[in-house]
């Protein structure tokens, strides 16, 4: 085991290298590109025994990824934002094919307007695709979750693909210390992939065939759901084994100062670091604040969320995404997870912020706790939208300039 400073992108590529992937179909897009560049270099330099092929679009890239996995290869690929959406049709196909593979998504806001920095509308657009989703906060988590994702995806009880998500820029281009797992131990944790029914000359198979019967179609869809739920159990087993081998434990959710907390902020990905800072500040003021980080979003850890938030006074869900006409995407999911729980919180406040990677201060995160302190029972379901006064002023100036100079 060695410790190395690396970016989130290199941490993702490192996970793929340690997993000894057979095949990487690729297509460039910011901010993911460093991942495929790194792998291209390692393959060219003989550090990875992998076939690397650059396709002509993400749609083709994901198609090739899925069919290669069905042929028995361990497959890795990566994309971001527009690329994920361009290939979206194939996400549903790959999960329907029950082709285990790992796709790293480096989050980036979705056009229009076109932008580069992160929010989670891209990866959450894939929430219903059948891919499992693991979201990373740190570079260490990126490497570890890639390995865990393969272990769960390829398990015969699951056989579903997985997305590992990391934030563009904030994590993809941030260097952090990563404890790189020893290859021999990784091999023990993740033996080679043995496909159950690959394409074969001696035993031909038909895959992706049409189903012209609603009951039969329902059967396959229900099956995918059941397999995804199984993924939670398998993740727990795999995580235990991972901890034994590497000393790091990962649950589907992770609490911070949660036990005695009464006001809890729920969030995911790299901005969680800011949430923790806010919790500390609130604690300094004597307010029982806490945080719940969501690591696994599919299968949805309903029970774990409900157990973690039971008995809390007020909860706020920080959505770094926006579904126009609805609000944040995770708020209804988290809220519904608690609906049947006795002792559920009095209120769950929806908050939307950090869209397009909007710089967010610890103060803004503290304002969420302020809102929680003010609320009685039955908070408004309309989200609080975060933006600082200085930002608002700057935005107004720019909009004025655009309209004035244009007229």
């Amino acid at each position: 085991m060695t410790e190395q400073l690396m970016t989130g992108n290199v941490a993702a590529a490192t996970g793929a290298r340690l997993a000894k992937v057979d095949y990487v179909p690729a297509y460039p897009i910011t901010p993911q590109t460093e991942i495929i560049e790194t792998i291209a270099w390692w393959v060219a330099d003989g550090k990875m025994d992998t076939k690397f092929v650059q396709l002509e679009s993400e749609h083709s890239m994901l198609t090739a990824a899925g069919t290669a996995a069905l042929a028995g290869a361990r497959v890795f690929t990566a994309t971001s934002s527009q690329g994920l959406l361009y290939g979206m049709e194939m996400l549903y196909n790959i999960s329907g094919w029950r082709a285990p593979m790992v796709l790293v998504n480096v989050s980036r806001g979705v056009a229009a307007p076109i932008t580069l920095e992160p929010d989670h509308n891209d990866v959450l657009a894939a929430r219903d695709s059948g891919f499992m989703q693991f979201h990373a906060e740190t570079c260490q988590e990126v490497t570890d979750l890639v390995l865990l994702a393969y272990r769960v995806a390829e398990d015969s009880r699951v056989m579903l693909p997985a997305i590992v998500n990391l934030d563009g820029f904030y994590l993809s281009f941030t260097r952090e210390k990563v404890s790189v797992p020893e290859q021999s131990k990784v091999d023990e944790f993740l033996p080679g992939y043995v496909p159950p029914h690959p394409f074969s000359a001696s035993k031909p198979v038909a895959k992706g065939t049409s189903v012209m019967d609603g009951a039969l179609y329902s059967y396959f869809r229900y099956n995918a759901h059941a397999a995804s739920l199984k993924g939670k159990e398998v993740f727990a087993e795999a995580s235990k084994n991972y901890e034994e081998l590497f000393g790091r434990a990962y649950g589907p959710v992770e609490g911070y100062m949660l036990d005695d907390a009464e006001y809890v902020l729920v969030m995911s990905n790299s901005f969680t670091a800011l949430g923790r800072q806010a919790v500390k500040r609130m604690r300094q003021r004597g307010i029982p604040a806490g945080l719940l980080k969501l690591r696994m979003l599919r299968p949805f850890p309903r029970q774990e969320i409900s157990n973690s938030l039971k008995g809390k006074r007020v909860v706020a869900v920080f959505d770094q995404n926006l579904a126009p006409g609805l609000g944040g995407i995770l708020w209804p999911e988290v809220t519904s997870a608690m609906y049947h729980t006795k002792g559920r919180p009095d209120a769950v406040i929806p908050v939307v912020g950090a869209l397009g990677g909007k710089q967010t201060t610890s103060k803004e995160m503290e304002s969420i706790f302020e809102a929680m302190l003010k609320v009685g029972s039955g908070a408004s379901p309309e989200p609080i939208f975060l933006m600082r006064d200085t930002e608002l002023k700057r935005v107004q100036q720019l909009v004025t300039r655009a309209t004035k100079e244009g007229s």
Binding site: D22, H59, S60, M61, T63, T67, N93, V211
Partner: protein
């Protein structure tokens, strides 16, 4: 044609069938016949990669008329699906994870909607990457599976559901058929051929030649469509033959970019003979004969063969 061939006459057609009878496709489907012949030449070790089209319905869970492997991908990306399978087999054989005996030919099969339109980009990518695969396009000149809407393969003067013949649109489709053969050839595919099941030996020999070529091998098979074109299912092969004899469907191949016509119709039969056999062209003759449109179709054919004759040095007698 190659000097040494297994196929001198139709009697040399392999007896083995890899496509069992009783499938779900329409009676008289020219595409199905093309697939059947194609498979006979390739032999048993095949992975078919399909995009949405008529043939997709042939494989309806839990039944399969195929004795080989099948993979339905998506409308736009069958060639990318072929890329994944080819690459996986290559890397797994190289690493010793899959025995060489399990290796297979990877064959894309789609209609013209996928080949000419929505999958054009993915095909271009596969050609560019010199992917070692076969592409069999059964060309029934429209979106057949969805009920016969125009594709860029639909010929001038053909009716379709999205170019309906009406008072304001008396000719049906008024665009010319896209030249996919040349598009593939110009992009650098080492082998491109047109096929027609009415010319079986020519068909078999071309597929056979394809098996000797490394890289993208692309075939466009003319595929009579009784339901879409409007003719009796028993007439498929006869109508396809007329397309060749009238010069409407040239039989040719391109080896490393050099075009060679494999069946030269020395004396063209009038296109009218071909057009009259099908409902999709009926409006060209009824209620009155659309002489200008028919003349335009004929002159397009004449011009094609004039240019081909000049390039290759053969004689074709045009229809005036």
């Amino acid at each position: 044609m190659s000097a040494v061939t297994r196929f001198r006459t139709l009697k040399d057609l392999p007896r083995e069938d890899y496509l069992t009878p009783g499938g779900t496709l329409c009676a008289g489907c020219g595409g199905l016949l093309a697939i059947r012949l194609f498979h006979k030449v390739l032999g048993e070790n095949v992975v078919w990669i399909n995009a949405a089209g008529c043939v997709t319905i042939m494989m309806t869970y839990p039944l399969s008329p195929l004795k080989s492997n099948w993979m339905y991908t998506a409308f736009a990306s069958a060639p990318a699906g072929a890329q994944g399978v080819r690459d996986a087999l290559d890397v797994l054989v190289a690493k010793g994870k899959v025995p060489k005996t399990e290796d297979m030919k990877v064959v894309v099969v789609t209609g013209d909607g996928a080949a000419y339109d929505i999958g054009y980009q993915a095909t271009s990518g596969a050609i560019d990457r010199d992917l070692d695969f076969y592409y069999l396009c059964y060309d029934n000149e429209a979106y057949g599976n969805t009920g016969f809407q125009m594709s860029t393969s639909t010929p001038y003067g053909s009716a379709s559901k999205t170019t309906p013949v009406a008072n304001g649109n008396p000719l049906g489709n008024t665009r010319n058929k896209k030249d996919l053969f040349d598009a593939w050839r110009v992009q650098g595919a080492p082998y491109v051929a047109t096929l027609c099941t009415s010319h079986g030996v020519d068909f078999l020999r071309k597929v056979e030649k394809g098996t000797t070529v490394h890289g993208p091998k692309l075939f466009i098979a003319f595929a009579g469509c009784p339901t879409g074109w409007g003719f009796d299912p028993r007439e498929t092969v006869e109508i396809e033959k007329l397309a060749v004899q009238t010069g409407t469907w040239p039989l040719k191949e391109s080896v490393d970019g050099v075009v060679h016509h494999t069946m030269v119709p020395r004396r063209l039969r009038p296109v009218e003979e071909y057009l009259r056999t099908q409902e999709r062209f009926r409006h060209l003759f009824e209620p009155e004969v659309k002489t200008d449109a028919i003349r335009r179709i004929q002159s397009t054919v004449n011009r094609y063969w004039k240019e081909a004759s000049a390039a290759e040095g053969f004689d074709v007698q045009a229809v005036e």
